[in-house]
């Protein structure tokens, strides 16, 4: 607000802890150290947080530089309000395992759906989330 009144700017967010959601679905938490005009972000002491159900796991990643176009949303984290009752932190291996299971389950259901539709003669094109050609 200081720098660009009436506009949205990331300058005031610098050196604060943020959570950023990327286009590929990853969630990063870290201290926002630097920005530029494209909203490229430099995160410090970054942690990738994987959420599966009520559990989450943190993978420390170090320094991240995120290209601005890949950011979905970005929000400041209140440091004081860190601990969360609802979510339960687990180890990295466990959360990765959980994630894998979740992916598997999802794929199964997806497949089942597609076959069901095919049997009925319908085909729904798969939504492409990744914008990759």
């Amino acid at each position: 607000m200081n720098y660009m009144p009436g506009t949205a700017s990331l300058i005031d967010d610098i050196d604060k802890k943020h959570l950023v959601l990327l286009r590929d679905g990853r969630t990063l938490i870290g201290f926002l150290r630097s920005i530029d005009q494209f909203a490229n972000l430099v995160f410090h002491q970054t942690v990738e947080r994987i959420h599966v159900g009520k559990k989450f796991g943190d993978i420390p990643r170090g320094i991240f530089i995120v290209r601005g176009e890949n950011v979905v949303l970005l929000g400041e984290i209140d440091i004081d309000k860190l601990c969360d009752n609802v979510l339960q932190q687990v180890s990295i291996e466990e959360i990765l395992e959980e994630q894998r299971l979740q992916q598997q389950a999802k794929q199964k259901t997806e497949k089942a759906k597609v076959t069901a539709l095919k049997d009925r003669g319908l085909s729904i094109p798969k939504a492409d989330n990744l914008d990759e050609y």
Partner: protein
């Protein structure tokens, strides 16, 4: 102890001053080229510092710092100074990594100079050299490097040879400088006096007793030049000078300064070239250079002409140093601007800086006044252009500094914020600033990694983002915004019943003048072209289009020429289509059934007639229109056309065509210099000739010889020669085959042949064009008319082989 500088050192210093300029330039270029800090060593130091920070967190510190410091300070110098226990009490200037380059410049000399005299001095120098936060020397290391940086402490006790430079540093603020233990109190009295005179002093963080006893307390302070670069800190500095620095109690030292949270973050600096010309044309993609204190430069120039190349020790966050607390560790003070404990990290109240244009356009200075004096960013006269609005500072921060320094700079965000809007924002910010600042600021001050992004960089990003909003016509670009605030103002005015009329009526409608930045490629003298640098704003020119305007006359003439040609081509095309039809007649004839054949035949005849009609003269049937013929034949296609046409014409008409050709051969030959196209005519013409009667032949020959000198020209043309030979051979054939040939009856033939032979003999061989073929019976022809001698000559010339007929 006070060894005066040797003479040569003096000289080097003076020499250095001249060199400084170049260094500035070079450095500036480097920075521009490679971006911010690319050739900067400081980031390495900083990185190491941070890395060490991490290490230290893990291992715990030993007496590593200073010991290492001591070693590094020597720069590998042999003369190691024993660091006594007091040294260990020096707070670790937050993990000083070995700053090689900067150290090497200073300490060795100093140490040599001092000869290990005063411990304080040496240590002071070491620390100062080691800690870039305090003072770092830019430029090449070496003895000559004195003046470019901190005036090295060892030379302290030396002459004041360079009062010109150093007093300038009085201007420089102290911001990164811990006022307490660093400054005069650390120096012995005499040294301090020298310093004062010279205006510069290193401020080592020493805690030596003999140092402390000379604590100047609130006396005038000499300030390390290396610490200060910012214009914006000058009020602070002057305040300090007036008021003096608070007395720094030794106990702070005894803490070892291990308070990591207060440790100064690694200063990020590159060369703030004081005295360098302001950079005006910085492409948008360039990250900001580290503190470029142009304003500084200007100020200095007023007072001190020489420039000093100084490294900014700290990012210029040090705008609003808090009122000096009792216990400020040196690092905190170094860190002063980093996050003043009671404010949001990025100082509000730094107003935007006007570009010259904006200032010029300003009608009214609606400055949200800075109650605390001018604490804004340096005024960049030419460089900044637009600066975003930075709101207002909390008004009560710098109590002691109130009203000491008038705000010299008027800051405006003239282009975008409606004044009403700005007012609202200011109010909002003020209300928010207090509540937010406390907690956050505290936390920030403990974050050693904070402010990696300097103020400049933030401004730069903001500037880029705001530049997109620049408009020359705010009503056009942002209609609703303007209207909204106008309405709001009107409403307010209504509510207040015009109490504050002066505010509302004076509306600034600032507009940015649209500057035409056309890129003019640079051309060096004597070079063959222009050096073109293409960038986003100046994309490479693929085609260099130049508008050439022709005069009317030329245009008319050109048009006429083109029109004529077009006409000819058109005619040719038409004739061609007819011709093709004629040519295809046979085929079609075969294909059509009997009934329609007659019709087809009729059609065919008409076509042929038409063809001829287009060629012939208007009135006379037996002459081909010369003009027309010429026109058509002037085009290659036309020649081809004629050649294809002739076979289809009835013999009489064909003969006339050939006559026409012969008649105009010179003109045709001129246009057909290469003889390529005309030669197509040979065949059909030959056919025609062979069917000619003798009279016609004679006529033809006569036509060929038509005017004076025509024959010679004809002879130059391949086709002409061939034609001639054809005629002659035909004549010969006639004569030889038909005894009753009428050719001889008419004298014309003989005469003509005579003239031909004459011409043939006279014409130089070079201009005689070789014919397409030489009919064999020419020789016999000539033998009839010429005598032996000439015959032989002719033979030679024409290379006619003597063939017996």
């Amino acid at each position: 102890m006070f060894r005066f500088q040797s003479l040569d050192e003096d000289c080097t210093l003076e020499k250095e001053e001249g060199l400084v300029e170049e260094e500035d330039e070079i450095d500036q270029f480097n920075d521009d080229t490679f971006g911010d800090g690319a050739i900067d060593d400081d980031w390495q130091e900083e990185h190491k510092r941070l890395a060490e920070l991490e290490e230290r967190k893990n291992d715990g510190l030993g007496g590593l710092g200073l010991g290492g410091l001591g070693m590094r300070g020597m720069g590998g110098d042999s003369s190691t100074v024993q660091l006594p226990p007091p040294a260990s009490r020096v707070p670790h200037p937050s993990s000083l990594p070995p700053p090689h380059h900067s150290l090497s410049s200073m300490p060795p000399l100093g140490l040599e100079e001092m000869g290990g005299g005063d411990l304080a001095e040496s240590l002071a120098m070491l620390i100062l050299g080691a800690d870039p936060a305090i003072a770092s020397v830019g430029g090449p290391a070496g003895p000559g490097d004195r003046s470019t940086g901190l005036p090295p402490p060892p030379s302290m006790p030396q002459q004041h040879h360079h009062p010109s430079q150093l007093p300038s540093h009085h201007q420089l603020t102290l911001s990164g400088l811990p006022p307490g233990p660093l400054h005069p109190s650390l120096l012995s009295y005499q040294q301090h006096q020298h310093l004062l005179r010279r205006g510069g002093a290193p401020m080592p963080q020493m805690n030596s007793h003999n140092i402390w006893e000379n604590n100047m307390g609130f006396g005038p302070v000499s300030v390390t030049p290396g610490l200060i670069t910012q214009m914006e800190d000058s009020p602070l500095l002057s305040i300090i000078k007036e008021v003096g620095l608070p007395n720094r109690p030794p106990p702070v030292m005894s803490e070892d300064g291990r308070d990591l949270s207060e440790r100064a973050p690694p200063p990020r600096s590159s060369s703030p070239v004081i005295g360098s010309p302001p950079v005006r044309a910085v492409p948008i993609g360039t990250p900001p250079k580290q503190p470029m204190s142009h304003a500084m430069n200007h100020q200095q120039q007023i007072h001190h002409p020489t420039t000093v190349h100084v490294r900014a020790p700290v990012h210029h966050q040090h705008r609003y140093p808090p009122s000096f607390p009792e216990r400020i560790s040196p690092n905190t003070l170094l860190n002063m601007a980093n996050s003043p404990l009671c404010r949001p990290p990025f100082p509000a109240g730094v107003g935007p800086v006007l570009s010259q244009i904006q200032r010029a356009q300003m009608l009214n200075s609606q400055v949200a006044g800075f109650p605390r004096g001018c604490q804004g960013p340096p005024l960049l006269p030419g460089g900044g252009g637009f600066r975003p609005f930075f709101g207002q500072p909390p008004p009560h921060r710098m109590g002691p500094h109130h009203n000491h320094i008038p705000c010299p700079i008027i800051r405006h965000n003239t282009t975008h914020l409606h004044p009403q809007h700005r007012r609202m924002l200011t109010q909002r910010m003020q209300s928010r600033g207090g509540e937010r600042g406390g907690r956050v600021g505290d936390w920030r001050s403990r974050d050693p990694y904070s402010n990696l992004m300097t103020q400049r960089e933030k401004e730069w990003v903001a500037k880029i983002q705001m530049m997109q909003l620049q408009s020359t016509d705010p009503y056009l670009d942002d209609y609703y915004y303007q209207n909204y605030f106008e309405k709001m103002e009107k409403r307010q005015e209504r509510d207040r019943d015009g109490v504050r009329k002066e505010h509302t009526t004076k509306l600034i409608t600032p507009q940015v003048a649209k500057l035409e930045h056309t890129y003019r490629p640079v051309q060096f003298a004597g070079s063959l072209g222009k050096l073109t640098v293409s960038s986003v704003n100046n994309p490479r020119k693929m085609i260099d289009t130049v508008v050439t305007s022709r005069t009317d006359d030329e245009e008319k003439r050109e048009k006429q020429v083109w029109n004529k040609r077009r006409q000819i081509l058109y005619t040719v095309e038409k004739m061609y289509s007819l011709l093709l039809e004629v040519q295809d007649f046979e085929k079609r004839f075969m294909q059509t059934p009997e009934e329609q054949r007659e019709a087809l035949l009729e059609q065919h005849k008409t076509h042929t007639l038409q063809l001829y009609a287009s060629l012939k003269e208007k009135e006379w049937d037996d002459r081909v229109s010369d003009e027309q013929c010429l026109l058509i034949m002037s085009v290659r296609k036309g020649k081809r056309l004629i050649s294809r046409l002739i076979p289809f014409l009835p013999p009489l008409q064909a003969a006339t065509v050939v006559m026409g050709i012969a008649r105009n051969l010179t003109a045709l030959a001129k246009k057909d210099k290469q003889d390529q196209a005309l030669c197509w005519l040979v065949e059909p013409v030959a056919v025609v000739i062979s069917s000619l009667s003798s009279a016609a032949l004679t006529d033809l020959l006569q036509e060929l010889q038509g005017s004076e000198g025509q024959l010679s020209k004809v002879l130059q043309n391949k086709f002409g020669v061939t034609l001639l030979y054809l005629i002659l051979s035909e004549g010969e054939r006639m004569q030889s085959s038909d005894l009753n040939c009428q050719l001889m009856d008419d004298n014309r033939w003989t005469e003509l042949v005579f003239s031909v032979t004459r011409e043939l003999l006279n014409v130089p061989p070079s201009s005689l064009s070789p014919p397409l073929f030489t009919p064999p019976n020419l020789l016999s022809l000539f033998s009839r008319y010429v005598d032996r001698q000439r015959l032989e000559l002719l033979q030679e010339k024409l290379q006619i082989s003597a063939l017996s007929r």
